[in-house]
């Protein structure tokens, strides 16, 4: 279970997250939507301290941290209980697809190399890239890189995978293969929190959609409610704009 309580993030005087309360159950798939610059990505990045939150409380599994008093150990533990998929893939450029996936198991979990590589091969099989084990990121397509990025997150065995606009940097031809892999994970009840503009994906796959504006949660609920019966005028406004440009 993931629980955010009163999460705030400020850069100087600018408030980006203005007290976010959010609970995500095990196996739940939560999609965060909202206008650009409303703190969606910052919210995800605060959950694993890629950004240092200003105030609030974070719970991941059995670990609860008051962000203002988080020690180095707390931060490390939070990061080890969460996994992150980046918009720009962020694969380790000096490592092969296999090594990218095995890295966490070898370095953090201290698995013997052979065991970690065997596990990484299983994952490569699942993401359909078994033949690319020894390829370096520079020689992979965007779609393949992002699938390895997801594979790397899968290998962590984390309680939750955080997806930060995972298809936004992709050429349109590669979007489907990445969404397909994410649907596969969803079907396996992997707990996921996603920031995405793929509204069709949100409607079909999410258990819950959370609409954020101005650093606050405006409205949340099952996709059918949010997309077809939004209560708040801001949600309606946003959906109208985005549905005019995106096919659902």
């Amino acid at each position: 279970m993931i629980k955010l309580t009163g999460l705030r993030k400020q850069y100087g005087e600018t408030v980006v997250l203005d007290g976010i309360d959010l609970t995500v159950e095990k196996g739940e798939i939560v999609v965060i939507i909202g206008p650009s610059g409303t703190g969606k990505s910052t919210l995800l990045r605060c959950v694993n301290f890629l950004e240092q939150p200003t105030a609030g409380e974070l719970t991941v599994g059995d670990l609860t941290v008051d962000v203002e008093r988080a020690s180095k150990q707390d931060v490390l533990q939070l990061r080890r209980h969460t996994a992150f998929v980046f918009q720009n893939y962020a694969l380790f450029a000096n490592k092969t697809a296999l090594e990218n996936i095995a890295e966490r198991l070898i370095v953090v979990d201290r698995w013997p190399k052979a065991k970690a590589h065997a596990r990484a091969r299983e994952i490569l099989e699942r993401i359909g890239l078994a033949d690319k084990a020894d390829a370096y990121p520079a020689s992979l397509s965007g779609g393949q890189q992002q699938r390895v990025g997801i594979g790397r997150a899968m290998a962590t065995g984390a309680e939750v995978i955080l997806f930060d606009e995972p298809t936004s940097s992709l050429d349109p031809e590669w979007v489907d293969e990445v969404l397909g892999l994410m649907k596969q994970l969803a079907a396996e009840h992997q707990t996921m929190i996603l920031v995405t503009h793929e509204m069709a994906f949100a409607r079909d796959v999410a258990d819950r959609v959370v609409f954020i504006e101005g650093g606050r949660i405006v409205e949340q609920g099952p996709p059918s409610d949010i997309f077809y019966h939004p209560q708040d005028p801001r949600t309606r406004d946003f959906l109208q704009k985005i549905l005019a440009t995106h096919q659902v």
Partner: protein
């Protein structure tokens, strides 16, 4: 104009070759120590570790700002005068100390630039899978920075090999010192020094060739 004494030159080759190992030893020990020191300096500068950072800045400034020969004389003649315990420093030790600190100062800056040049996303990805800062440095940042810094570092190594010739001013009989002795005995200065020059040249050429191979290997991950 008199003709070159080719026989003398050929006879000199094996004699001078005997002193080449000391030259290479000075350079490789100096390079190894300089690399270690430079990496430490670079990490201190990148992480801006208090006190050490300021110390490093002054250290680098001094050893870049003064001639190597002056530094060698300071280590060899100067330090024992201040601290009697240091009278045991011989020419070889003083040379290695001088080369190490002088070149560490230069190399620290290129290593630092290479570290800073590694894309921010690499750091975020490493932290996101739960790596500590040390693991991040060792496994992700330094390997990638090495590739960028390698050409410059090899340049410094080549420079250092030639700089070992200054050791003869501290009475060390390495390649340069030996040549000087031979030449002043035979008065065949041109012959003696051209043999020495060619030896330095060949060593440097071998290194350049190694550098090419190493670069190809490190670039493997980045070619499509």
């Amino acid at each position: 104009m008199s003709t070159l004494d080719v026989d003398y030159m050929l006879g000199l080759v094996p004699v001078l070759l005997g002193y080449l190992p000391l030259t290479l030893q000075l350079a490789s020990i100096g390079m190894l120590l300089a690399l270690i020191l430079a990496c430490l300096f670079a990490v201190v500068r990148v992480l801006k570790i208090p006190v050490l950072n300021q110390f490093t800045i002054v250290f680098i400034s001094f050893f870049r700002g003064t001639p190597l020969l002056v530094q060698l004389f300071l280590f060899y003649y100067g330090l024992p005068q201040l601290f009697s315990a240091l009278t045991v420093i011989d020419g070889i030790t003083a040379t290695i100390m001088g080369l190490t600190m002088h070149f560490a100062a230069y190399m620290a800056e290129s290593i630092r630039a290479a570290i800073v040049g590694v894309d921010r996303s690499q750091t975020e990805a490493a932290l996101s899978i739960g790596m500590t800062n040390g693991q991040l440095m060792r496994r992700i940042i330094l390997p990638q920075a090495t590739r960028v810094a390698l050409p410059t570092l090899m340049n410094y190594f080549i420079d250092m090999i030639k700089a070992t010739s200054l050791a003869f001013t501290l009475g060390v009989t390495e390649l340069m010192g030996a040549t000087q002795k031979e030449a002043s005995g035979s008065f065949l200065y041109f012959e003696a020094f051209i043999v020495a020059a060619v030896m330095y040249w060949i060593v440097v050429e071998i290194l350049s060739w190694l550098q090419g191979n190493l670069e190809t290997r490190l670039n493997k991950a980045y070619s499509r």
